[in-house]
Amino acid sequence: MEGSIVTCTICPIGCRIEVIEDSSSDSGYLVKGNKCNRGIGYAITEVTNPARILTTTVKLNNACLRRLPVRTDKPVPKNLMLDCMKVINSVEVDTPIELGTVIIENILSTGVNVISSKTV
């Protein structure tokens, strides 16, 4: 039986929640260690499909700042973070740029766009 431990970030308590595969339960998992119900969904998602908003910068030309802050418009799978970085690192943009402008469309075919998080 495979199990994982997840630290919950829903609230400051930070419960250490254990998630164990369990075909007999409805969700398919046995969840232990959570102090409240909100932890269950969080923990299962963290184990099955952990994803994060990626925030970083891209090279910016013709401006006094040399980097433009960018982020993904939706969470990307956690294990693709560094692969996404490599794509983002190879991009250069020119001013002017509005906040929200799509910089990279559908990065690594995830259906997620990288957008500018600043107007320059």
Partner: protein, 417 residues
């Protein structure tokens, strides 16, 4: 000498929100002064997200959060000066400042809002032994280099202190291809938010050593490594636990200090615990017409609370210049009791509270399954169950104007029970 209704010192989240709110509440001329080349303060180097959940009900990056306020400031046509350093503020509210284009300028304001934020504690302030090579940065300075200027501060990194900026830089540098070897924290719990422990450290397999600190720094020119040791209950290094970590960079995330050198010149009284001005519920300091908000008052964990507090300061500064502030009336003093390090505001003018007042505080250690109890004498005004409290996160208690009437001896004590 030019005169303004309100002068706001600092164009970070606190100054922006205060200036906007003051203008919206009828202040005539508002001038905002900032030393950077752009508005937004430290938010402009915060490319990470997690801002705005309380204020906007959505998760923004620091730059996005700043941009909303900057846009509004410009729409309200609030005057601002950039690349301008304030040299002094007097009790008479004369502000002396200097910049390249106008030179030395003195202005007079009817009200002043202090919003200078805070600075980072340095290696010297915590007296880490060892040599003094290059490659030692405060986390915030590293953040500026990496995010705004696009430079790497190093490749093999050790971080001392688990403040939020330090953890955020651990992730940021990892994403840029550096190797963060370890984060050492002298206290038994992380300094920053749990969310950052998970998403910045655990996500990337970066070890967090609690009860550990750096006892030696090695390196003649560039830093070559640090020795980390475990600490006993008295925070003294335990002999034999020393371990050497090779690194080319050390980041320090060991605390923030409100920046109040200018406040002292204005004769504003400071709280020795917070390092910031003593304020009442309107965020007015001990000098009438001088208000303060944000990290210059006390170091906040979330920018959203800075915004709320700064709106209070802006609103009340506008009232003050429009002659609507009135006298003090009965003044209630807030007193940190058992387990509470400090409370802001320090005073509440009982009759000036409209609907309610928020009290912000930090506990002095970790508590589980306790209550925060607000009392006046023996009368319990409010009690809230708390499953978990730790010094890294601010606590907030809302007290209604109605319940303040019960504060018979004009003092409120908050205890952990």
């Amino acid at each position: 000498m030019n005169e303004y209704d309100i002068a706001v010192i600092g164009g970070g989240p606190a100054g922006l929100a205060a200036a906007i709110e003051a203008k919206k509440h009828g202040a005539g001329t508002v001038l905002l002064i900032d030393r950077e080349m752009e508005l937004g303060g430290i938010l402009q180097q915060c490319v990470h997200n997690g801002f705005g959940l309380h204020i906007f009900r959505e998760e923004l990056t620091g730059t996005e959060y700043a941009e909303r306020f900057i846009k509004e400031l410009k729409e309200l046509r609030i005057e601002y000066k950039l690349d301008t350093m304030v040299l002094s503020i007097t009790e008479e509210k004369v502000i002396s400042m200097v910049n390249k284009t106008e030179g030395l300028v003195n202005i007079k304001a009817k009200a002043v809002i202090l919003a200078m934020g805070c600075r980072e504690r340095t290696r010297g302030a915590i007296n880490i032994p060892g040599t003094r090579p290059s490659g030692i940065f405060t986390a915030g300075t590293a953040q500026r280099f990496v995010n705004k200027e696009g430079y790497m501060v190093g490749r093999n990194i050790v971080i001392l202190g688990s403040g939020d900026i330090g953890m955020i830089m651990a992730r940021r540098l990892t994403l840029e291809g550096a190797r963060v070897k370890v984060v050492a924290e002298a206290l038994p719990y992380p300094g920053g938010l749990v969310r950052n422990v998970v998403q910045c450290l655990e996500d990337y397999g970066i070890p967090l050593l609690l009860n550990h600190t750096i006892v030696d720094i090695k390196g003649k020119n560039r830093i070559e490594g640090v020795t980390i040791a475990e600490l006993d209950e008295n925070r003294k290094p335990i002999g034999g636990t020393e371990q050497f970590y090779e690194c080319d960079t050390l980041l320090l995330s060991v605390g923030l200090i409100p920046e109040n050198e200018l406040s002292k010149g204005a004769d504003v009284k400071l709280d020795p615990i917070t390092g910031g001005p003593v304020v009442n519920e309107s965020m007015e300091t001990t000098v009438r017409g001088v208000f303060a908000c944000g990290n210059v008052v006390h170091v906040h964990d979330l920018v959203d609370y800075v915004t709320e507090e700064s709106r209070t300061a802006g609103r009340n500064a506008a009232r003050f210049v429009n002659g609507e502030a009135g006298g003090y009336g009965p003044v209630i003093r807030t007193k940190p009791g058992n387990g509470i390090r400090y409370i802001v505001p320090h005073f509440i003018r009982r009759d000036k509270v409209e609907r309610s007042v928020d009290l912000f505080m930090r506990v002095d250690r970790i508590f589980t399954d306790k209550k925060l109890v607000v009392k006046s004498g023996d009368i319990v005004i409010r009690a809230i169950n708390k499953a978990y409290m730790r010094p890294g996160e601010m606590e907030r208690i809302n007290i209604t104007a109605e319940s303040l009437k019960a504060a018979e001896n004009l003092s409120l004590t908050i205890d952990v029970e």
